[in-house]
Symmetry: C2
Subunit: 337 residues, 2 copies
């Protein structure tokens, strides 16, 4: 991510706003409840620290978009914290749904406190997201605050639709590329699109600029997911040492895999025979690359990034924040983790 | 529930608003996703029909409170639908958390579609609740709509706190009465209190009347739960034929049971020895009654109902809706299921 004094100040302000939001749950008799949420956010418990927190890309997108549209980014803070809380709600529930034992190198919430409490912790995180967004009341007009609330909730509904498709597709042997993009639109692009829209909304831009910002976030979301899918097979973590976490083993319907299945070659044959074991990962990753899966997904990520930058350009971003958005888009594409 | 032409018209309007809300999820490729929600709401699938829908008490409370405060109940419809959707979100997740195979005589969502999809269906239902509430934009001022959104989300946060306590208490052998009421404040009273507050808000009452309405809903919620707990052991369903569903068997920390444990008599001795089997239910229910558990909980429900009616009186409810609220409070206390 773009690292300089400006983005560092934004990230600090975001972290403060997030802590303030989660602190609401620290009532009488609720110490452990609050701890579950603080643990998931990477602030408490074993392995707490920056590594456990993720990159806070989503709130950064909100604040940078606001500032790039000549808004005061401080006004967008409630929206920034809200999107990050919403993202983390989805991670807590995803980990249960995918039966994932670890996240960012630490035991997941359901592994530590059981499925029942983890479902509830996710519900609480989602509620904190929406409550935090309403603090926009203090920084923008009631009309804009309502529009922002609707925008975030609409993204959340798309998220659950994408998640439905993702879970439903697990049972399918063959997934079309259209279905893949439909799912990713909901699972990833809807929230990133809400991030940039919320930034524009709080800056008070015209509808045209807001639409360009929304489109920037949407294309960036698609690019982000395609690149994530490449890293899920050919990233360092997936290839070396952690083969068990490779998308080839977890059976995720990722873009290279969907493409590979459609080629009906050796990769597709092996895929059809059932679960892949970690020992097969290096060889099968090579096979999928030979059959074009890596190039296809990488090109798609590049094309989506190009579209994202085109939309960003239409939004006519200003100053340091505008530059940071361009850098962020390039870095998301070039990242290795 | 009070059954006459007036409440029948309200209930019809509520059902229409609910169907409209859930229909939003019927997009391309999402037929089954939409069906899960419609199934849970009692509209589709095996056993669909009025019996499968519950009594829609919460939205009725919203609309009746609005009308009793001289508001147009039609304006409160988005809030009415929202509280019912929120209630149903909590039921879908509760059923997973409690491992309940049936609800209202039908298989639960997780039993039909698995835990992963059921978690997601609950998330979608919660999101629909908040989205539907925002339709208040069309019927009240932006300020009031925002206040209503905050009120519902705050209730939702209290709900997750109450749910945390409920799940955490399962591990405890001994629960104080204070802890019981703390849990019930969140699990049941917070949402009923939001119902009556939303009714007053949409009617545009003074803050004093709104506070009285909120208190009415809160006390009614406590009374409702205490009475529910009595029925969970001595109701017809719990005693005859469905002993397996008795709170004595499921191990719920209900008011008579919490009281019985504190008496340290024969009931407490048996409880301490581990799970109760259905065959023991009739005899153990008698034992708990002998030791005062039934009378204690019944009196508590009566006292809370009295407090509820006192608060309702302070709100100075008007006309047919005001009468219906009084009847509803009495009927909740006197109900047999």
């Amino acid at each position: 991510m773009p690292k300089n004094d400006f983005t560092a100040a934004l990230l600090n302000a975001i972290e403060d706003e997030l802590r303030l939001a989660v602190r609401q749950t620290a009532g009488q008799g609720l110490g452990q409840f609050n701890h579950m949420l603080a643990y998931h956010m990477g602030w408490e418990g074993e392995g707490a620290g920056p590594e456990a927190r993720g990159k806070r890309i989503r709130p950064l997108l909100v604040l940078l978009t606001c500032a790039a549209c000549r808004g005061e980014w401080e006004r967008a803070l409630p929206a920034g914290a809200a999107v990050e809380l919403l993202h983390n709600f989805s991670l807590i529930h995803d980990d249960i749904q995918d039966n994932s034992p670890t996240r960012r190198g630490r035991p997941t919430v359901w592994r530590k406190w059981g499925i029942a409490q983890a479902i509830n912790a996710g519900d609480a995180m989602l509620t904190l997201a929406h409550l935090t967004l309403l603090h926009l009341e203090k920084t923008v007009s009631p009309q804009v605050a309502l529009q922002a609330a609707r925008s975030l909730q609409q993204a959340c509904l798309l998220l659950t639709e994408g998640q439905y498709l993702d879970l439903a597709y697990e049972a399918h042997g063959n997934l079309s590329l259209d279905s893949y993009w439909h799912m990713v639109s909901g699972k990833t692009a809807a929230l990133l699109s809400a991030c940039t829209e919320l930034g524009a909304l709080t800056a008070g831009t015209s509808e045209a600029i807001r639409a360009a910002c929304r489109q920037f976030g949407y294309s960036l979301g698609l690019a982000f997911q395609a690149q994530d899918d490449v890293l899920g097979i050919w990233g360092n973590a997936a290839l070396t040492g952690k083969s068990a976490e490779s998308d080839l083993v977890t059976g995720k319907k990722s873009l290279p895999i969907v493409y590979g299945i459609q080629q009906k070659g050796s990769f597709a044959d092996r895929w059809a025979q059932g679960p892949i074991i970690p020992e097969e990962v290096p060889q099968l990753a090579v096979q999928l690359e030979v059959e074009g899966g890596r190039e296809f997904a990488t090109k798609a990520a590049g094309e989506m990034t190009r579209q994202a930058l085109e939309s960003l350009d239409q939004a006519n971003p200003q100053g340091e924040a505008g530059q940071a958005l361009t850098i962020l888009a390039h870095e998301l594409l070039g990242r290795q983790a």
